[in-house]
Protein backbone atom coordinates (compact mmCIF):
# COMPACT_ATOMS: atom_id res chain seq x y z
CA UNK A 1 0.00 0.00 0.00
CA UNK A 2 2.73 2.40 0.98
CA UNK A 3 4.67 1.59 -2.14
CA UNK A 4 1.58 1.96 -4.26
CA UNK A 5 0.86 5.40 -2.80
CA UNK A 6 4.46 6.40 -3.23
CA UNK A 7 4.42 5.48 -6.91
CA UNK A 8 1.00 7.05 -7.34
CA UNK A 9 2.20 10.41 -6.05
CA UNK A 10 5.44 10.28 -7.98
CA UNK A 11 3.46 9.49 -11.13
CA UNK A 12 0.92 12.25 -10.59
CA UNK A 13 3.68 14.77 -9.94
CA UNK A 14 5.65 14.06 -13.08
CA UNK A 15 2.37 13.52 -14.93
CA UNK A 16 1.33 17.06 -14.03
CA UNK A 17 4.43 18.34 -15.83
CA UNK A 18 3.66 16.19 -18.87
CA UNK A 19 0.13 17.53 -18.75
CA UNK A 20 1.45 21.08 -18.89
CA UNK A 21 3.66 20.28 -21.87
CA UNK A 22 0.75 18.53 -23.57
CA UNK A 23 -1.46 21.52 -22.83
CA UNK A 24 1.10 23.77 -24.48
CA UNK A 25 1.16 21.49 -27.53
CA UNK A 26 -2.61 21.54 -27.69
CA UNK A 27 -2.88 25.31 -27.40
CA UNK A 28 -0.47 25.93 -30.26
CA UNK A 29 -1.92 23.10 -32.33
CA UNK A 30 -5.43 24.46 -31.93
CA UNK A 31 -4.45 27.96 -32.93
CA UNK A 32 -2.14 27.10 -35.80
CA UNK A 33 -2.13 23.35 -36.57
CA UNK A 34 1.59 23.47 -35.80
CA UNK A 35 3.12 20.68 -33.74
CA UNK A 36 5.73 22.59 -31.80
CA UNK A 37 8.65 20.31 -31.05
CA UNK A 38 10.33 23.14 -29.15
CA UNK A 39 7.67 22.84 -26.43
CA UNK A 40 10.02 20.95 -24.13
CA UNK A 41 12.61 23.71 -24.38
CA UNK A 42 10.25 26.10 -22.58
CA UNK A 43 10.26 23.71 -19.62
CA UNK A 44 14.04 23.57 -19.80
CA UNK A 45 14.29 27.38 -19.96
CA UNK A 46 11.96 27.77 -16.99
CA UNK A 47 14.15 25.55 -14.84
CA UNK A 48 17.59 26.62 -16.09
CA UNK A 49 16.99 30.39 -16.10
CA UNK A 50 15.54 30.25 -12.60
CA UNK A 51 18.49 28.19 -11.37
CA UNK A 52 21.08 30.58 -12.77
CA UNK A 53 19.26 33.75 -11.77
CA UNK A 54 18.83 32.32 -8.27
CA UNK A 55 22.50 31.40 -8.10
CA UNK A 56 23.36 34.95 -9.13
CA UNK A 57 21.58 36.16 -6.00
CA UNK A 58 18.13 37.00 -7.35
CA UNK A 59 15.39 36.02 -4.89
CA UNK A 60 13.60 32.83 -5.99
CA UNK A 61 10.17 34.32 -6.85
CA UNK A 62 11.82 37.07 -8.89
CA UNK A 63 14.10 34.58 -10.61
CA UNK A 64 11.08 32.45 -11.50
CA UNK A 65 9.22 35.45 -12.85
CA UNK A 66 12.21 36.40 -14.93
CA UNK A 67 12.45 32.85 -16.31
CA UNK A 68 8.80 32.83 -17.32
CA UNK A 69 9.16 36.23 -18.98
CA UNK A 70 12.21 35.05 -20.89
CA UNK A 71 10.44 31.87 -22.05
CA UNK A 72 7.54 34.02 -23.27
CA UNK A 73 9.95 36.22 -25.24
CA UNK A 74 11.54 33.11 -26.76
CA UNK A 75 8.11 31.68 -27.57
CA UNK A 76 6.94 34.81 -29.34
CA UNK A 77 10.27 35.12 -31.14
CA UNK A 78 9.91 31.52 -32.30
CA UNK A 79 6.49 32.29 -33.72
CA UNK A 80 7.51 35.59 -35.32
CA UNK A 81 10.96 34.68 -36.64
CA UNK A 82 10.55 31.05 -37.64
CA UNK A 83 6.94 29.86 -37.80
CA UNK A 84 5.38 32.96 -39.35
CA UNK A 85 7.92 33.29 -42.21
CA UNK A 86 7.51 29.58 -42.97
CA UNK A 87 3.76 30.04 -43.44
CA UNK A 88 2.40 27.94 -46.26
CA UNK A 89 5.13 25.33 -45.91
CA UNK A 90 4.11 21.70 -45.53
CA UNK A 91 3.41 20.09 -42.16
CA UNK A 92 6.70 18.25 -42.42
CA UNK A 93 8.64 21.44 -43.20
CA UNK A 94 7.14 23.18 -40.15
CA UNK A 95 8.01 20.18 -37.98
CA UNK A 96 11.60 20.46 -39.15
CA UNK A 97 11.58 24.19 -38.38
CA UNK A 98 10.39 23.61 -34.81
CA UNK A 99 12.96 20.85 -34.39
CA UNK A 100 15.60 23.32 -35.58
CA UNK A 101 14.32 25.86 -33.06
CA UNK A 102 14.44 23.25 -30.32
CA UNK A 103 18.06 22.39 -31.09
CA UNK A 104 18.97 26.07 -31.37
CA UNK A 105 17.43 26.94 -28.00
CA UNK A 106 19.14 24.06 -26.28
CA UNK A 107 22.41 24.87 -28.04
CA UNK A 108 22.28 28.44 -26.79
CA UNK A 109 21.37 27.22 -23.31
CA UNK A 110 24.40 24.95 -23.38
CA UNK A 111 26.65 27.89 -24.27
CA UNK A 112 25.10 30.44 -21.89
CA UNK A 113 24.71 28.02 -18.99
CA UNK A 114 26.58 24.72 -18.89
CA UNK A 115 26.20 20.98 -19.36
CA UNK A 116 25.65 20.12 -15.69
CA UNK A 117 22.53 19.08 -13.85
CA UNK A 118 21.10 21.69 -11.51
CA UNK A 119 18.59 21.75 -8.69
CA UNK A 120 16.52 24.41 -7.01
CA UNK A 121 15.67 24.42 -3.31
CA UNK A 122 12.19 23.07 -2.65
CA UNK A 123 9.70 25.91 -2.11
CA UNK A 124 8.57 24.74 1.29
CA UNK A 125 11.32 22.56 2.60
CA UNK A 126 12.31 18.95 2.07
CA UNK A 127 10.49 17.49 5.04
CA UNK A 128 8.31 14.73 3.54
CA UNK A 129 4.68 14.50 4.50
CA UNK A 130 3.80 11.03 5.79
CA UNK A 131 0.61 9.56 4.42
CA UNK A 132 -0.30 5.92 5.07
CA UNK A 133 3.34 4.96 5.09
CA UNK A 134 4.24 6.86 1.94
CA UNK A 135 6.51 9.90 1.99
CA UNK A 136 5.29 12.77 -0.12
CA UNK A 137 7.49 15.73 -0.90
CA UNK A 138 5.87 19.11 -0.27
CA UNK A 139 7.19 20.14 -3.68
CA UNK A 140 4.96 17.48 -5.27
CA UNK A 141 2.00 19.33 -3.86
CA UNK A 142 3.36 22.56 -5.34
CA UNK A 143 3.57 20.90 -8.74
CA UNK A 144 0.08 19.43 -8.58
CA UNK A 145 -1.43 22.59 -7.19
CA UNK A 146 0.38 24.80 -9.70
CA UNK A 147 -0.67 22.62 -12.61
CA UNK A 148 -4.28 22.63 -11.44
CA UNK A 149 -4.29 26.43 -11.14
CA UNK A 150 -2.87 26.76 -14.66
CA UNK A 151 -5.33 24.32 -16.19
CA UNK A 152 -8.33 25.96 -14.54
CA UNK A 153 -7.05 29.46 -15.21
CA UNK A 154 -6.54 28.71 -18.89
CA UNK A 155 -9.98 27.19 -19.13
CA UNK A 156 -11.63 30.21 -17.51
CA UNK A 157 -9.63 32.54 -19.72
CA UNK A 158 -10.63 30.70 -22.90
CA UNK A 159 -14.29 30.62 -21.96
CA UNK A 160 -14.82 33.92 -20.20
CA UNK A 161 -12.71 36.49 -22.02
CA UNK A 162 -13.05 38.05 -25.44
CA UNK A 163 -9.48 37.18 -26.30
CA UNK A 164 -10.12 33.58 -25.33
CA UNK A 165 -13.07 33.57 -27.70
CA UNK A 166 -10.81 34.96 -30.42
CA UNK A 167 -8.36 32.12 -29.84
CA UNK A 168 -11.15 29.57 -30.04
CA UNK A 169 -12.52 31.19 -33.19
CA UNK A 170 -9.08 31.10 -34.82
CA UNK A 171 -8.77 27.46 -33.86
CA UNK A 172 -12.12 26.62 -35.40
CA UNK A 173 -11.58 28.45 -38.66
CA UNK A 174 -8.71 30.82 -39.23
CA UNK A 175 -10.08 32.38 -42.39
CA UNK A 176 -13.49 32.99 -40.93
CA UNK A 177 -11.87 34.49 -37.82
CA UNK A 178 -9.90 36.88 -40.01
CA UNK A 179 -13.05 37.84 -41.89
CA UNK A 180 -14.83 38.88 -38.71
CA UNK A 181 -11.89 41.08 -37.84
CA UNK A 182 -9.84 38.95 -35.46
CA UNK A 183 -6.14 39.68 -35.67
CA UNK A 184 -5.07 36.04 -36.04
CA UNK A 185 -1.38 36.96 -36.05
CA UNK A 186 -1.79 38.29 -32.54
CA UNK A 187 -3.75 35.23 -31.55
CA UNK A 188 -0.96 32.96 -32.80
CA UNK A 189 1.72 34.97 -31.02
CA UNK A 190 -0.43 34.82 -27.92
CA UNK A 191 -0.80 31.04 -28.19
CA UNK A 192 2.98 30.68 -28.34
CA UNK A 193 3.43 33.10 -25.45
CA UNK A 194 0.97 31.27 -23.20
CA UNK A 195 2.38 27.86 -24.17
CA UNK A 196 5.86 29.10 -23.33
CA UNK A 197 4.71 30.46 -19.99
CA UNK A 198 2.89 27.24 -19.10
CA UNK A 199 5.94 25.18 -20.02
CA UNK A 200 8.31 27.44 -18.08
CA UNK A 201 6.15 27.37 -14.94
CA UNK A 202 6.07 23.58 -15.15
CA UNK A 203 9.85 23.56 -15.44
CA UNK A 204 10.29 25.80 -12.39
CA UNK A 205 7.90 23.80 -10.24
CA UNK A 206 9.44 20.43 -11.00
CA UNK A 207 13.14 21.34 -10.96
CA UNK A 208 13.51 20.88 -7.17
CA UNK A 209 12.37 17.27 -7.64
CA UNK A 210 13.78 16.10 -10.97
CA UNK A 211 16.74 18.45 -11.50
CA UNK A 212 17.26 20.12 -14.85
CA UNK A 213 19.90 20.55 -17.52
CA UNK A 214 20.14 22.12 -20.96
CA UNK A 215 19.16 18.79 -22.58
CA UNK A 216 15.94 17.88 -20.76
CA UNK A 217 13.67 19.49 -23.37
CA UNK A 218 13.68 16.86 -26.10
CA UNK A 219 12.48 14.02 -23.94
CA UNK A 220 9.88 16.26 -22.31
CA UNK A 221 8.59 17.27 -25.74
CA UNK A 222 8.33 13.63 -26.75
CA UNK A 223 6.49 12.75 -23.55
CA UNK A 224 4.24 15.77 -23.76
CA UNK A 225 3.33 14.77 -27.27
CA UNK A 226 2.70 11.19 -26.18
CA UNK A 227 0.41 12.57 -23.49
CA UNK A 228 -1.40 14.78 -25.98
CA UNK A 229 -1.83 11.81 -28.30
CA UNK A 230 -3.07 9.64 -25.51
CA UNK A 231 -5.72 12.21 -24.73
CA UNK A 232 -6.44 12.95 -28.37
CA UNK A 233 -4.59 15.77 -30.08
CA UNK A 234 -6.45 19.06 -29.91
CA UNK A 235 -8.38 18.35 -26.74
CA UNK A 236 -7.22 20.35 -23.67
CA UNK A 237 -9.00 18.06 -21.22
CA UNK A 238 -7.49 15.09 -23.03
CA UNK A 239 -4.03 16.65 -22.80
CA UNK A 240 -4.26 17.00 -19.03
CA UNK A 241 -5.66 13.52 -18.45
CA UNK A 242 -3.20 12.05 -20.96
CA UNK A 243 -0.33 13.71 -19.10
CA UNK A 244 -1.40 12.39 -15.72
CA UNK A 245 -1.99 8.93 -17.14
CA UNK A 246 1.43 8.86 -18.81
CA UNK A 247 3.06 9.99 -15.57
CA UNK A 248 1.34 7.16 -13.69
CA UNK A 249 2.28 4.58 -16.32
CA UNK A 250 5.87 5.72 -16.15
CA UNK A 251 6.00 5.74 -12.40
CA UNK A 252 4.53 2.26 -12.03
CA UNK A 253 6.67 0.91 -14.86
CA UNK A 254 9.74 2.29 -13.11
CA UNK A 255 8.66 0.93 -9.74
CA UNK A 256 7.48 -2.49 -10.78
CA UNK A 257 9.35 -3.30 -13.97
CA UNK A 258 12.56 -1.41 -14.66
CA UNK A 259 13.64 2.10 -13.86
CA UNK A 260 16.18 2.02 -16.71
CA UNK A 261 13.48 1.89 -19.30
CA UNK A 262 10.94 4.26 -17.84
CA UNK A 263 11.69 6.67 -20.68
CA UNK A 264 10.56 3.98 -23.10
CA UNK A 265 7.02 4.10 -21.71
CA UNK A 266 6.12 7.27 -23.62
CA UNK A 267 7.30 5.74 -26.85
CA UNK A 268 5.38 2.53 -26.28
CA UNK A 269 2.31 4.59 -25.47
CA UNK A 270 2.68 6.40 -28.80
CA UNK A 271 2.86 3.14 -30.71
CA UNK A 272 -0.02 1.59 -28.80
CA UNK A 273 -2.22 4.61 -29.33
CA UNK A 274 -1.45 4.50 -33.02
CA UNK A 275 -2.24 0.82 -33.18
CA UNK A 276 -5.35 0.78 -31.06
CA UNK A 277 -7.00 4.17 -31.00
CA UNK A 278 -5.54 6.71 -33.41
CA UNK A 279 -8.03 9.35 -32.22
CA UNK A 280 -6.81 9.14 -28.66
CA UNK A 281 -9.08 8.84 -25.66
CA UNK A 282 -10.88 12.12 -26.10
CA UNK A 283 -10.15 13.22 -29.67
CA UNK A 284 -12.46 13.35 -32.60
CA UNK A 285 -11.71 11.97 -35.99
CA UNK A 286 -10.68 14.74 -38.33
CA UNK A 287 -11.86 14.65 -41.90
CA UNK A 288 -9.67 16.09 -44.57
CA UNK A 289 -11.51 18.31 -46.99
CA UNK A 290 -10.86 17.90 -50.68
Amino acid sequence: MAEFLQLLFAGLTIGAVYALVALGFTLIFQASEVINFAQGEFVMLGGMVTVFAYKAGVPLPLAALFAVALAVVVGVALQRLAIEPAKGASVVAIIIVTIGASILIRGIAQIVFDKQFHALPAFSGDEPIRLLGAAILPQSLWVLFGAAVIVLGLRLFMERTLFGAAVRATAANRLAAELVGIDTRRVLAFAFAVSAAIGAIGGILVTPITLTSYAVGTLLALKGFAAAMLGGIGSPVGAVLGGLLLGLLESFAAGWISSTYKDAVAFIVILLVLFVLPQGLFGRRAIERV
Binding site: R284, I287, E288, V290
Partner: protein
Protein backbone atom coordinates in the same frame (compact mmCIF):
# COMPACT_ATOMS: atom_id res chain seq x y z
CA UNK B 1 -26.89 -4.08 -64.49
CA UNK B 2 -25.32 -0.67 -64.06
CA UNK B 3 -21.57 -0.18 -63.88
CA UNK B 4 -21.53 2.00 -60.77
CA UNK B 5 -24.35 2.33 -58.30
CA UNK B 6 -24.85 3.76 -54.83
CA UNK B 7 -27.67 2.64 -52.60
CA UNK B 8 -29.05 4.52 -49.63
CA UNK B 9 -25.91 6.50 -48.83
CA UNK B 10 -26.12 8.48 -45.57
CA UNK B 11 -23.50 10.40 -43.63
CA UNK B 12 -23.55 13.02 -40.90
CA UNK B 13 -20.77 15.32 -39.75
CA UNK B 14 -21.06 16.14 -36.07
CA UNK B 15 -24.84 15.75 -36.03
CA UNK B 16 -25.32 17.61 -39.30
CA UNK B 17 -26.83 15.27 -41.87
CA UNK B 18 -24.83 15.81 -45.04
CA UNK B 19 -26.39 13.02 -47.08
CA UNK B 20 -29.55 11.07 -46.44
CA UNK B 21 -30.54 7.94 -48.32
CA UNK B 22 -28.99 8.94 -51.63
CA UNK B 23 -29.00 6.40 -54.46
CA UNK B 24 -27.92 6.62 -58.06
CA UNK B 25 -26.54 4.48 -60.83
CA UNK B 26 -24.71 4.97 -64.08
CA UNK B 27 -24.08 2.73 -67.09
CA UNK B 28 -21.15 2.36 -69.41
CA UNK B 29 -20.93 5.21 -71.91
CA UNK B 30 -23.43 7.27 -69.97
CA UNK B 31 -22.94 10.78 -68.56
CA UNK B 32 -24.62 11.40 -65.22
CA UNK B 33 -24.56 14.93 -63.85
CA UNK B 34 -25.05 15.58 -60.15
CA UNK B 35 -26.28 19.11 -59.52
CA UNK B 36 -27.62 21.02 -56.59
CA UNK B 37 -27.06 24.19 -54.62
CA UNK B 38 -23.88 24.71 -52.61
CA UNK B 39 -23.85 22.49 -49.57
CA UNK B 40 -26.22 19.99 -51.13
CA UNK B 41 -23.70 17.22 -50.52
CA UNK B 42 -22.40 16.67 -54.05
CA UNK B 43 -18.70 16.57 -53.22
CA UNK B 44 -19.39 14.55 -50.08
CA UNK B 45 -21.17 11.98 -52.23
CA UNK B 46 -18.15 11.94 -54.54
CA UNK B 47 -15.81 11.47 -51.62
CA UNK B 48 -17.82 8.55 -50.31
CA UNK B 49 -18.14 6.80 -53.65
CA UNK B 50 -14.41 7.23 -54.35
CA UNK B 51 -13.46 5.86 -50.94
CA UNK B 52 -12.14 9.01 -49.23
CA UNK B 53 -14.94 9.07 -46.67
CA UNK B 54 -16.82 6.16 -45.22
CA UNK B 55 -20.59 6.35 -45.33
CA UNK B 56 -22.48 5.63 -42.12
CA UNK B 57 -24.93 3.54 -44.08
CA UNK B 58 -25.49 2.50 -47.65
CA UNK B 59 -23.62 0.47 -50.21
CA UNK B 60 -21.55 1.20 -53.29
CA UNK B 61 -21.39 -1.32 -56.13
CA UNK B 62 -18.80 -1.21 -58.89
CA UNK B 63 -19.04 -3.58 -61.84
CA UNK B 64 -21.20 -6.00 -59.88
CA UNK B 65 -18.98 -5.98 -56.82
CA UNK B 66 -19.69 -4.55 -53.40
CA UNK B 67 -16.94 -1.98 -52.91
CA UNK B 68 -18.34 -0.19 -49.86
CA UNK B 69 -15.57 1.14 -47.66
CA UNK B 70 -12.70 0.10 -49.89
CA UNK B 71 -9.76 2.52 -49.84
CA UNK B 72 -9.25 4.73 -52.92
CA UNK B 73 -6.29 2.79 -54.29
CA UNK B 74 -8.31 -0.45 -54.31
CA UNK B 75 -11.18 1.30 -56.06
CA UNK B 76 -8.74 2.61 -58.65
CA UNK B 77 -7.61 -0.95 -59.30
CA UNK B 78 -11.24 -1.91 -59.86
CA UNK B 79 -11.70 0.81 -62.46
CA UNK B 80 -12.77 3.99 -60.66
CA UNK B 81 -10.91 7.26 -61.30
CA UNK B 82 -11.70 10.81 -60.29
CA UNK B 83 -10.63 14.44 -60.41
CA UNK B 84 -10.91 17.08 -57.72
CA UNK B 85 -12.80 20.32 -57.34
CA UNK B 86 -9.79 22.08 -55.88
CA UNK B 87 -6.97 20.68 -57.94
CA UNK B 88 -4.77 17.92 -56.58
CA UNK B 89 -1.84 18.22 -58.97
CA UNK B 90 1.64 16.86 -58.29
CA UNK B 91 3.20 20.31 -58.50
CA UNK B 92 6.77 19.13 -58.01
CA UNK B 93 6.56 16.98 -61.13
CA UNK B 94 6.42 17.74 -64.82
CA UNK B 95 3.18 17.71 -66.79
CA UNK B 96 4.17 14.41 -68.37
CA UNK B 97 5.16 12.85 -65.06
CA UNK B 98 1.78 13.76 -63.58
CA UNK B 99 0.11 11.60 -66.19
CA UNK B 100 2.79 8.92 -65.83
CA UNK B 101 1.80 8.52 -62.17
CA UNK B 102 -1.69 7.80 -63.46
CA UNK B 103 -0.26 4.70 -65.16
CA UNK B 104 0.77 3.32 -61.77
CA UNK B 105 -1.61 0.38 -61.88
CA UNK B 106 -0.71 -0.51 -65.44
CA UNK B 107 3.00 -0.73 -64.66
CA UNK B 108 4.74 -3.90 -63.62
CA UNK B 109 6.77 -3.10 -60.53
CA UNK B 110 9.55 -5.24 -59.23
CA UNK B 111 11.44 -3.40 -56.53
CA UNK B 112 14.82 -5.04 -56.99
CA UNK B 113 14.72 -4.43 -60.74
CA UNK B 114 13.79 -0.82 -60.06
CA UNK B 115 16.62 -0.29 -57.61
CA UNK B 116 19.11 -1.77 -60.05
CA UNK B 117 17.68 0.12 -63.02
CA UNK B 118 17.41 -3.06 -65.08
CA UNK B 119 16.50 -2.83 -68.77
CA UNK B 120 13.01 -4.12 -67.99
CA UNK B 121 12.44 -1.00 -65.89
CA UNK B 122 13.68 1.27 -68.65
CA UNK B 123 11.30 -0.44 -71.10
CA UNK B 124 8.47 -0.05 -68.63
CA UNK B 125 9.34 3.63 -68.21
CA UNK B 126 9.28 4.31 -71.91
CA UNK B 127 5.99 2.44 -72.36
CA UNK B 128 4.51 4.56 -69.59
CA UNK B 129 5.94 7.70 -71.15
CA UNK B 130 4.38 6.85 -74.51
CA UNK B 131 0.98 6.18 -73.01
CA UNK B 132 1.17 9.43 -71.06
CA UNK B 133 2.14 11.36 -74.19
CA UNK B 134 -0.88 9.99 -76.03
CA UNK B 135 -3.17 11.09 -73.22
CA UNK B 136 -1.63 14.54 -73.15
CA UNK B 137 -2.28 14.77 -76.88
CA UNK B 138 -5.86 13.67 -76.25
CA UNK B 139 -6.46 16.53 -73.79
CA UNK B 140 -4.45 18.98 -75.90
CA UNK B 141 -1.41 19.40 -73.67
CA UNK B 142 1.19 17.57 -75.75
CA UNK B 143 3.37 20.65 -76.29
CA UNK B 144 3.67 21.33 -72.59
CA UNK B 145 4.68 17.81 -71.56
CA UNK B 146 8.06 18.76 -70.14
CA UNK B 147 7.08 21.92 -68.33
CA UNK B 148 6.72 21.82 -64.57
CA UNK B 149 3.06 21.26 -63.71
CA UNK B 150 2.96 24.44 -61.67
CA UNK B 151 3.59 26.55 -64.76
CA UNK B 152 0.26 25.57 -66.37
CA UNK B 153 -2.77 27.88 -66.27
CA UNK B 154 -5.85 26.79 -64.34
CA UNK B 155 -7.86 25.50 -67.27
CA UNK B 156 -4.96 23.39 -68.47
CA UNK B 157 -4.51 21.90 -65.00
CA UNK B 158 -8.14 20.81 -65.08
CA UNK B 159 -7.42 18.92 -68.30
CA UNK B 160 -4.19 17.55 -66.86
CA UNK B 161 -6.19 16.01 -64.01
CA UNK B 162 -8.54 14.45 -66.53
CA UNK B 163 -5.59 13.02 -68.46
CA UNK B 164 -4.12 11.60 -65.26
CA UNK B 165 -7.44 10.00 -64.35
CA UNK B 166 -7.78 8.56 -67.83
CA UNK B 167 -4.30 7.08 -67.53
CA UNK B 168 -5.81 4.55 -65.12
CA UNK B 169 -8.00 3.34 -68.01
CA UNK B 170 -11.04 3.63 -65.76
CA UNK B 171 -14.46 2.13 -66.31
CA UNK B 172 -15.96 4.96 -64.31
CA UNK B 173 -14.65 8.52 -64.34
CA UNK B 174 -15.83 10.95 -61.69
CA UNK B 175 -15.26 14.64 -62.43
CA UNK B 176 -15.76 17.13 -59.62
CA UNK B 177 -16.59 20.48 -61.24
CA UNK B 178 -14.42 19.99 -64.32
CA UNK B 179 -15.34 23.40 -65.73
CA UNK B 180 -15.26 25.47 -62.54
CA UNK B 181 -13.13 28.56 -62.96
CA UNK B 182 -12.67 27.97 -66.67
CA UNK B 183 -13.39 30.58 -69.34
CA UNK B 184 -15.92 29.79 -72.10
CA UNK B 185 -13.26 28.51 -74.50
CA UNK B 186 -11.76 26.19 -71.89
CA UNK B 187 -15.23 25.04 -70.86
CA UNK B 188 -15.99 24.10 -74.43
CA UNK B 189 -12.78 22.06 -74.63
CA UNK B 190 -13.71 20.17 -71.48
CA UNK B 191 -17.21 19.70 -72.81
CA UNK B 192 -15.80 18.04 -75.94
CA UNK B 193 -13.44 15.91 -73.88
CA UNK B 194 -16.21 14.53 -71.70
CA UNK B 195 -18.32 13.56 -74.68
CA UNK B 196 -15.33 11.87 -76.30
CA UNK B 197 -14.57 9.95 -73.09
CA UNK B 198 -18.14 8.73 -72.76
CA UNK B 199 -18.11 7.59 -76.40
CA UNK B 200 -15.25 5.29 -75.54
CA UNK B 201 -17.62 3.48 -73.18
CA UNK B 202 -16.54 5.08 -69.92
CA UNK B 203 -19.28 5.88 -67.43
CA UNK B 204 -18.89 9.56 -66.49
CA UNK B 205 -20.24 11.03 -63.26
CA UNK B 206 -19.80 14.75 -62.88
CA UNK B 207 -20.60 17.45 -60.41
CA UNK B 208 -21.02 20.75 -62.18
CA UNK B 209 -22.44 24.21 -61.66
CA UNK B 210 -22.35 25.27 -65.29
CA UNK B 211 -25.93 24.47 -66.28
CA UNK B 212 -25.30 24.97 -69.98
CA UNK B 213 -22.62 22.30 -69.87
CA UNK B 214 -24.80 19.96 -67.82
CA UNK B 215 -27.81 20.28 -70.10
CA UNK B 216 -25.69 19.84 -73.18
CA UNK B 217 -23.70 16.74 -72.37
CA UNK B 218 -25.44 14.70 -69.70
CA UNK B 219 -27.71 11.78 -70.40
CA UNK B 220 -29.24 11.93 -66.95
CA UNK B 221 -29.25 14.41 -64.10
CA UNK B 222 -29.43 13.78 -60.36
CA UNK B 223 -30.52 16.78 -58.28
CA UNK B 224 -29.44 16.94 -54.65
CA UNK B 225 -30.82 19.38 -52.15
CA UNK B 226 -29.82 19.46 -48.50
CA UNK B 227 -28.41 15.97 -48.72
CA UNK B 228 -31.45 14.33 -50.31
CA UNK B 229 -32.28 13.34 -53.85
CA UNK B 230 -34.75 15.91 -55.11
CA UNK B 231 -35.20 14.64 -58.64
CA UNK B 232 -33.62 12.34 -61.15
CA UNK B 233 -34.10 11.94 -64.89
CA UNK B 234 -33.30 13.25 -68.35
CA UNK B 235 -32.07 16.84 -68.48
CA UNK B 236 -35.32 18.10 -70.03
CA UNK B 237 -37.45 16.34 -67.41
CA UNK B 238 -35.38 17.65 -64.56
CA UNK B 239 -35.41 21.14 -65.96
CA UNK B 240 -39.20 21.03 -66.11
CA UNK B 241 -39.63 19.56 -62.63
CA UNK B 242 -41.32 22.23 -60.49
CA UNK B 243 -39.59 21.04 -57.31
CA UNK B 244 -36.24 21.50 -58.95
CA UNK B 245 -37.14 24.92 -60.22
CA UNK B 246 -38.33 25.93 -56.79
CA UNK B 247 -35.42 24.51 -54.85
CA UNK B 248 -32.56 25.14 -57.14
CA UNK B 249 -33.00 26.66 -60.56
CA UNK B 250 -35.32 29.32 -59.20
CA UNK B 251 -32.60 30.57 -56.93
CA UNK B 252 -29.60 29.78 -58.92
CA UNK B 253 -29.51 29.26 -62.62
CA UNK B 254 -32.99 29.65 -64.05
CA UNK B 255 -31.80 32.10 -66.65
CA UNK B 256 -28.90 29.98 -67.79
CA UNK B 257 -31.07 26.85 -67.88
CA UNK B 258 -33.49 28.54 -70.18
CA UNK B 259 -30.72 29.91 -72.30
CA UNK B 260 -29.41 26.39 -72.90
Amino acid sequence: MSLLSAHGISIAFGGLRALEDVSFSVDAGEVLAIIGPNGAGKTTLFNIVSGLYRAQSGRVMLAGRDVTGLPPHRLAALGLARTFQNLQIFFRMSVLENVMVGRHLKERRQLVAELLGLPSVLRENSATREAARDLLAFVGLAERAHEPAQSLPYGALKRLEIARALACEPKVLMLDEPAAGCNPVETEEIDRLIVAIARKGVAVVLVEHDMKLVMRISDRVLVLDQGRVLAQGRPQEVRADPRVIAAYLGRHGLASAHAA
